[in-house]
Amino acid sequence: MSKLFVKHLSKSWGDTEVLHDISFNCKQGSLLVLLGPSGCGKSTTLRLIAGLEDPSQGSIMMDEKEITHLVPGKRGIAMVFQNYALFPHLSVVENILFGLKARKIKKDEQQKRLKYAASVLGLSDLLDRRPSQLSGGQRQRVALGRAIVYQSSICLMDEPLSNLDAKLRQEMRQEIRSLQQRLGITMIYVTHDQTEAMTMADQIILMKDGEIEQIGTPEELYKTPATAYSGNFIGTPPMNILRPDQKILSAFESRKMDQELLSKIEKQCLIGVRPEHIQLDETGIPATINTIEYLGSETLIACQIENQPILFTTPNKLNMAPGGAIKIGWGVKNLHVFDAKSGKRDDSVYHQLLN
């Protein structure tokens, strides 16, 4: 069952359109991630859902009710801000209960919900502190607590982890995800970090320049990126997007390809291959090493074929110096073919390649 429907949403500031015809829906109890680089419109989308901005066009429906122009406080949403937006002069208790008091919810009910949220979030010992006496992770929890006690139907999160250090970010990532699943919260989560998106999301919406690039589960985005951009955005290190010149096409020649198909690929396509799908291969394409980064569990090698840079990883330590010559190859099965002009995935060419 869908909780939230966003239909043909657009937003302009004066003459500049920052959001163009966005449509998606979000299922009850799922975690939806809006992913994209800064300026792609993901935060604007969230603020439109929250009611902090007014859309230029389109509508937002929640629980089958239109909420497009409702004030934020009446939408039944909770929101966690990037800088937490805790009230600095109020204690943790007062911060958590702020919304319930403003909404005049009964005292004993307030206390019940506070107790529950505090125990779920492990805040019980910190209730009398002020935000300035808390660490980043604790502030984050208080902000979450404020969202939980409201028992809203939907919880919006605007880059909630971007102010935490790497280790804490990973902890909070797991914590938020498990909390969301345990309490069955419907959550819309904005981030520019594809790792957060991949690890937490039920559904990812990848955005670019105010438009939706791809909607799908993390697996779909990884395995079948709809565009070259999407392929490049998901995965660390990112997917190699290559112009298929003669050198690269020579890798396919051993497979006795149809010449017509090869020239079509050369003229009209881009090929994408993930770093983890490239191996050192004695029969492969010659490449020159640019840098080698040893990461312990794997080694990250940046090299180039002619002028095209390629990144790949190998599980073994490579005892070579930059400038050294290697040969690399990849399975045709792991290739992604995109149309050079539109950047869209072209599965027909891919299937012809496989046969």
Binding site: G73, I77, F81, H89, F98
Partner: protein
Amino acid sequence: MIKHQARYWNQVNGWLMIIPAVCMIGLFTHYPIFATFFRSFFATPIGTKPAPFVGLENYSFLMEDEVFWKVLKNNLIYSFCTVPASIALALIMAMTVNGKIKGRSWVRLSFFTPTVLPMIAVANIWLFFYTPEYGLFDQIIIFFGGNSHNWLGNPDSVLGSLIVMVIWKESGFFMIFYLAALQQLSPELQEAGKIEGSGRWNYFRRVEFPLLMPTTLFISINAVINSFKLVDHLVIMTKGGPDNASSLLLYYIYENAFNFWDTHYASTITIVLVIILAIISLVKFAYLDKKIHYQ
């Protein structure tokens, strides 16, 4: 040894640098306070004779001086009216011009203009406003069929008239402080408030006002001190009259010192004024500062 010397020179350097400031403050603030305190125990000398020591006689005279009590009462009424009213007005004005309204910079400018004017100029302008029959207020009242008032000539209305004028003059200045403080508040807080279902009044009461408390305290201390030390307008408008109905403490000191040439009695009243101001500062630093959330 070298370390010891370095520290010594550090101290000397420090003292050398603050000596000019210390001299100025000593000469124009601390010495006058002690001299005034000292003089309040002597009677004003007549002719070339030395001032005779009278102990607490000046103070017991003060206790029986009806004019002093009247002036003190005037000053308390004046402070209790001008301070809260100008602060409230300043806050309302600051909230108005902090929002998105058309012609915001013009409104800001017009709110701030009274502050830029010297008190003497303001007093002259308002002297015209209050003129019976020809003045601005009387013209408006007469236009609507009312009667002419002698605003400044009537002991019942003179203090109120001054209070209104001072509120007009002071609140623009305080507005600037509130405006600066309001712009320090993160817009995210307001958005969080909106999402939490906190209405305009609820948000003001629970978030904005408490967060503005440091500013409010700063302004109120300044306002109270101003209400005791700013008397320029009395010289222009009323000279404390009629029948001392508009006289304030500092103006009464001025009258005693420079009209009646009773400088030692003026010293005695000055000590009372200094004590009042000291108590206000003490309340601020020792009590209020601890109750307020500073960022």
